[in-house]
């Protein structure tokens, strides 16, 4: 069985028409193996968030294929894509984006509830919250905890469905440096412990220290490494 969990093949994304046409992604191709801790870095407007939206199936490419667990997702219906996102992907957003109307535990349980998967859900969610150090906060409302605690809960929510890939969009962007460091270490430890693939978009490469792999985006293109030569297009 292949170790490749994600494969992008010649992915293009174009916004607008005519004079307002913008090529946000230009022929991007790369693959990711199971368990990799991968950073996508790049300056503002380089296409890293668009790329994450393609990988997260939050947006569809103008052309090309996004394969997750060997399945081509580009032709899936809206309902199937929702199911796919729920079962294969975990999301960690910049502002944690917990549901303020729910408790920390209910937030973590939400992907499982959407999946109608009750089996061990409560126990697994509790265990995850314990693993991220929030066992004493589980019954608090999401808006009653600190930013760092909310982001820990978001990590637990991203992991609760045993996703193939966890996608994080600037997960430390809204945190102070000390809390950000804690969150980075937590994600790394969870990745190692669970052999979990993490793809993280960040503008602050240094915060993450040593990682398995870095992809740099520039002008809609993706390059292997942190300072990819301008003409060396990624072909992994």
């Amino acid at each position: 069985m292949s170790d490749i969990v994600l494969e992008l093949k010649n992915v293009n994304k174009v916004f607008g028409h005519g004079d307002t046409r913008v090529q946000a992604l230009n022929n991007v191709s790369f693959s990711v193996k199971k368990g990799e801790f991968l950073l996508i870095v790049g300056s503002s407007g380089s296409g890293k968030s668009t790329l994450l939206n393609m990988i997260g199936l939050l947006d569809r490419p103008s052309s090309g294929q996004v394969m997750i667990d060997g399945k081509n997702t580009t032709k899936l219906s809206d309902g199937k894509i929702s199911e796919f996102r729920n079962s294969k992907l975990g999301f960690i957003f910049q502002f944690s984006n917990l549901m303020a109307d729910l408790t920390i535990l209910e937030n973590v349980l939400l992907p499982r509830n959407i999946q109608r998967s009750d089996k061990n859900a409560y126990k697994e969610a509790s265990d995850l919250l314990k693993a991220v150090g929030l066992e004493s906060q589980i019954n608090k409302r999401a808006n009653e905890v600190s930013g760092g605690q909310a982001q820990r809960a978001a990590i637990a929510r991203g992991l609760v469905n045993h996703p193939t890939i966890v996608l994080a969009d600037e997960p430390t962007g809204n945190l102070d440096s000390v809390t950000a460091e804690t969150i980075v270490q937590l994600m790394k430890s969870m990745a190692k412990k669970l052999n979990q693939t993490f793809i993280i978009v960040t503008h602050d490469r240094n915060q993450f220290g040593k990682v398995d792999r870095v992809i740099t985006t520039k002008d809609g293109r993706a390059f292997e490494g942190e300072d990819a030569p301008p003409k060396m297009e990624l072909t992994v």
Partner: protein, 395 residues
């Protein structure tokens, strides 16, 4: 509990202002319908009650051509054998000239409508005797009860005064007789016999020279809903007697048809009010959806389908509808109870006939609930159109 119901409940309870606004819109819509019903249906029913009680009974039997020639004792006895019939009584009507004199001086003379009643049977069918505010009801052939409006026209005649009644009999000859005023009637709302003169039916028969004849038979039922059955049974039993039998709705049709149209119009205004409430629910739900853009985006991102989002907001509409319908119905019932207990009157005169129409109460509640749910469909649909990518951008 399903997570969508739980989320709908939490989202709504955390937006108390919107919840209260939407619930009040639905509740007030229902309350308006209940108030309209209590006042206008109560007034209509009061008029029917009074017309039935004073003038027509539940079933009114007349002769298609002229007077009933069959014995009134026989007909009353026939009716009273029917289990649905509580009592029956004969009446006679005519017009007369009335003259009042005081201390030998003529005070007034004018034409007036005269009703002949059987003093023994009439109180079992009609409550006209209860409207006697001064003196007592007709008790002998020379006693007469005069309506308060006639009394006013007579310049303030009193119990104990005497009046002269002049009636033209069947042969065209004037018959004049003096009567003693034994009572004055005053009915609330004026639906009673305030503009009439009531005398003993036999006295009227004598003056009309129609001994043994009867103008009409008033029949009171112990279950007014059986009026059509009794009427049809009567007509089937006496097919060759030129009888005309009518239920209260038929005999009072002229008096009630306009009023019924008015009530229909007022009910329609009430239902338009309820529809306005639905628009308020649409607006509030749109605000709720707008305030939950980020949450909807997050939910879509983590795998919720469009139908899950639709269900969340439709459930919110159902909650608004259910709470609004519950509170509105409770407020409406409270008002109805108050109106009934305080014997509420219309314009300070006619006592309303307040009733709990459970079919209408249920229908109004269901309609309000349904409108609230329908009003949630468009905002819910709008919510499903939010793209999950918004979650990444929306702060």
């Amino acid at each position: 509990m399903d997570y969508r119901v739980q989320l709908a409940k939490r989202m709504l309870s955390n937006k108390k202002g919107s919840l209260i606004g939407a619930v009040l819109a639905v509740s007030i819509g229902i309350l308006v319908i209940h108030v309209n019903f209590v006042i206008f249906q109560g007034l209509y029913d009061a008029i029917v009650r009074d017309l039935s009680s004073y003038r027509f009974g539940d079933v009114l039997v007349t002769d298609e051509e002229s007077f009933i020639t069959k014995s009134d004792t026989y007909l009353v006895g026939w009716f009273e054998k029917i289990p649905y019939v509580e009592a029956a009584t004969p009446r006679m009507q005519s017009s007369a000239s009335i003259t009042v004199t005081k201390n030998g001086k003529l005070v007034e003379e004018f034409r007036v409508s005269v009703i002949g009643v059987d003093p023994m049977r009439d109180p079992r069918v009609s409550t006209a005797y209860q409207t006697v505010s001064d003196g007592q009801f007709v008790f002998s052939r020379n006693s007469i009860v005069i309506g308060s409006r006639v009394i006013d026209d007579l310049g303030g005649a009193m119990v104990g005064d005497s009046v002269k009644i002049k009636i033209t009999d069947r042969r065209g000859e004037d018959q004049v007789r003096r009567f003693l005023i034994t009572g004055i009637t005053t009915s609330p709302g004026g639906q009673g016999l305030d503009s009439q003169v009531i005398m003993h039916i036999d006295a009227l028969r004598d003056m009309l020279d129609r001994g043994g004849e009867t103008g009409e038979i008033l029949v009171k039922l112990n279950d007014p809903k059986k009026a059509s059955d009794v009427k049809n049974y009567f007509l089937r039993t006496f097919p060759n007697d030129d009888f005309k039998a009518e239920t209260i709705e038929e005999s009072a049709e002229a008096a009630l048809s306009g009023f019924r149209s008015g009530i229909a119009m007022i009910n329609m205004i009430g239902y338009f009010g309820l529809m306005s409430s639905a628009f308020a629910v649409v607006t509030i739900q749109m605000m709720l959806v707008s305030s939950k853009t980020r949450e909807v985006g997050v939910m879509r991102a983590i795998g919720a389908k469009r139908k899950d989002i639709l269900i969340i907001f439709i459930v919110q509409g159902m909650m608004i509808g259910a709470i609004g319908a519950g509170i509105g119905t409770a407020m409406g019932l409270g008002y109805t109870f108050y109106a009934k207990e305080t014997k509420m009157t219309f314009a300070g005169s006619i006592p309303l006939e307040v009733s709990y129409d459970w079919a209408k109460i249920t229908q109004t509640a269901i309609m309000a609930f349904s409108l609230a749910v329908m009003a949630s469909i468009y905002p819910s649909y709008k919510a499903t159109k939010l793209q999950p990518v918004e979650a990444m951008r929306y702060v």
